[in-house]
């Protein structure tokens, strides 16, 4: 586990506060870092993640933009190329479709197309995650779209500690990084030390050890996997939970080590299962650890439907601890 063991009691911060602290510390450290987005200054974003930043850094570094996602993303690309380190805030992950050309055809390719001469050190922060009763256009987890594109890095923190360390690395990275925050986890609390630390992009974390089955899980699915692992332990099944933390770069080594040890794997992600993150990780396991497996790799993701509004319907679309337990028991049986 990556949390350092310390004698002193470590502060508890929410995931939202951890992200704000990372941004504030990076903005203090480096005057080139600034944030652009809608309702981010005095409003502090619709989720209040950035509350207080404009008071400290002023409106030149915490900029309220017009409702022009492609426009301000494009401005961030140009600003990143020319000496700034912009962070763009896309209010809901569902809106990344609007920014696609700027992310996919511009930000992701400029370094390569220019033969390595221009760089685009920017971060796009946005949200993911269902069950907020926000219906089909405010609930999706679309991070897999960016994972498909060479030139982009994709980060999905699952704890406040990881969120802070990963955000700092994302800001310091020389490439465009998409950072997906589960909106249902902003209030999740966890230990976050005071001191400056970073978590490298491309390092998975084993969130719980176990010998019988590996659950590779991302973002809020890590919490679901941990809950399921607790229940499975009562039934005599030791589940190991591996959080890749970044989907690209992907720490295949840690995932494969775990799977080789347990010989069974479930891959969980809140994105759609079809052609998704789960499919990719499952195939990494199948290609490289096939002969260590006792059972086919199981994918668990969002149902392949637009996210419905009605609570019982919406709840049926996302994986639960029960789903995981059932799958794990079937595989270990």
């Amino acid at each position: 586990m990556s949390m350092p063991e310390t004698e002193t009691v470590v502060r508890q911060l929410t995931l939202g506060d951890a992200i704000r602290e990372a941004l504030a510390e990076e903005m203090r450290r480096d005057s080139r870092v600034l944030i652009l987005g809608e309702d981010i200054a005095e409003a502090g974003t619709v989720f209040k993640v950035l509350t207080g930043l404009v008071e400290e850094f002023g409106p030149d570094r915490v900029l309220d933009t017009p409702i022009s996602e492609p426009g301000f993303t494009g401005i961030a690309v140009g600003a990143a190329m020319t000496g700034l380190r912009p962070v763009v805030d896309i209010m809901f992950g569902d809106f990344i479709g609007l920014t696609m050309d700027q992310m996919v055809n511009q930000a992701a390719k400029i370094h390569y197309m220019s033969g390595g001469k221009w760089k685009v050190p920017m971060v796009m922060r946005t949200t993911m995650g269902a069950t907020r009763r926000s219906a089909a256009q405010h609930s999706q987890s679309l991070h897999a779209w960016f994972c498909h594109v060479p030139g982009l890095k994709v980060v999905l923190p699952s704890t406040p500690y990881d969120a802070k360390g990963l955000m700092k690395s994302a800001i310091r990275d020389e490439n465009p990084v998409a950072f997906f925050e589960d909106k249902m986890m902003y209030k999740l609390k966890g230990p976050v030390p005071e001191e400056d630390y970073t978590i490298p992009l491309g390092a998975a974390d084993v969130k719980r050890e176990g010998d019988d089955i590996t659950i590779v899980a991302t973002s809020s699915m890590v919490q679901v996997a941990l809950g399921a692992a607790g229940r499975l332990a009562e039934r005599g099944i030791g589940a190991e939970v591996v959080d890749p933390r970044t989907l690209w770069p992907l720490d295949e080594t840690t995932i494969l080590e775990s799977v080789r040890k347990t010989s069974r794997a479930i891959v969980m992600d809140e994105g759609y299962g079809r052609y998704g993150v789960m499919a990719e990780i499952a195939s990494v396991i199948a290609e490289q650890a096939f002969f260590d497996l006792e059972a086919p790799v199981k994918r668990i993701g969002a149902m392949h439907v637009p996210i419905p509004f009605s609570p019982p319907l919406e709840d049926a679309t996302v994986p639960t601890e029960e789903t995981v337990c059932e799958a794990a028991e079937a595989m270990c049986g």
Binding site: D60, S68, G74, A79, T82, G115, N175
Partner: protein
């Protein structure tokens, strides 16, 4: 369309001759690119700038070396006008390691930090954000640089252009939006694609606009100079509409064009509205140059182009090992 002859000073004379030379360099470069394509020596396609040289040259003549530009699919002229070297340009067109992008970009993606070239862009209107972002950096970092965004009349159909113009006006960014109105979006006349008056678009955002004869390099230059000065003085963005015409096809392979524009129209522009000939004739009429002097420039430029092509032809391709270099910084 003849305008009063601009005031002649030694500096102005130097500038006009420099512009003449640059335009001719672009013309000869593009003719050579067409030739390379026709002889199957160039992979892919290229969108030639022949006929539009006065726009890039007139505008870039108003820029400092460290000012920024973004360019388009029809970008060779912008890159050369901003100071790119012929040999590395040709090398890039041929996909060679010595090219500006080590052969990874090609005709539509030439980029060069040393000349402030943020890159040509094969997405119509796609660089409007980048140019505006560079202006944003210049303002934030207090560098005094200006960014020019070149785009075609077709890009006026892209929402991105208006989004960033709005922000540039709100934030007073030092950016000049230069629209090259050559009347066509590929194979479609812009009377089918543009509603209303182009010149009212900028003012809707409080971005002042100017319309110039894009075949008159000196007119383009003086308008651009004013707008660049305005941007540098912190007065914000402006819009420059340059009426121009591409003499060749949309790209090198577009040879039968009568289904979208007439030979008469083409020959009218080529005969009477050639920006290089217009400047040359004006300089001679003003006794600012003589035919022999202009011929000598042509001979020099043509020799430079010939040398550069030879360099590019003989240059090696990148090693296949390099294919996955530079994906990440």
């Amino acid at each position: 369309m003849t305008q009063a002859a601009p005031t002649r000073t030694d500096a102005a004379l130097d500038r006009w001759l420099r512009m003449y030379r640059r335009m001719l360099m672009i013309r000869r470069f593009e003719e050579e690119a067409n030739d390379l394509y026709t002889r199957a020596l160039m992979p892919g396609l290229a969108h030639l700038y022949i006929g539009e040289e006065a726009v890039a040259v007139g505008v870039c003549e108003a820029l400092a070396p460290d000012d920024y530009i973004t360019s388009t699919h029809r970008g060779h002229g912008h890159c050369l006008a901003k100071g790119a070297e012929l040999d590395r340009m040709f090398a890039e067109l041929l996909g060679k390691r010595a090219g500006y992008c080590k052969g990874k970009g090609g005709s539509m993606h030439i980029a060069d930090p040393d000349t402030g070239n943020l890159g040509a862009n094969a997405i119509v209107g796609g660089s409007a954000g980048i140019a505006t972002g560079a202006a944003f950096s210049a303002l934030r970092l207090g560098t005094g640089q200006v960014a020019v965004c070149f785009f075609g009349d077709g890009a006026l159909g892209q929402g991105l252009v208006y989004e960033v113009m709005n922000m540039a006006a709100l934030w007073k960014l030092p950016v000049v939006y230069v629209c090259e109105n050559n009347l066509y979006n590929e194979y479609t006349h812009n009377s089918e694609t543009l509603a209303g008056d182009i010149m009212t678009r900028g003012p809707a955002f409080g971005v002042p606009g100017e319309r110039v004869d894009g075949q008159d390099a000196r007119a383009v230059h003086s308008a651009a100079r004013g707008q660049v000065a305005r941007a540098r003085a912190g007065e914000g963005p402006s819009f420059l509409l340059c009426d121009t015409y591409r003499f060749m096809g949309h790209h090198v392979g577009d040879v039968s064009r009568e289904y979208y524009r007439s030979k008469d129209e083409e020959s009218e522009w080529k005969t009477h509205r050639d920006p290089i000939r217009l400047l040359g004739e004006a300089l001679i009429a003003e006794q600012a140059a003589d035919p022999a002097g202009l011929d000598a420039i042509d001979a020099e430029v043509s020799a430079d182009v010939a040398r550069a092509v030879e360099f590019a032809k003989n240059a090696p391709y990148p090693s296949v090992d390099e294919v996955d270099d530079d994906v990440y910084a």
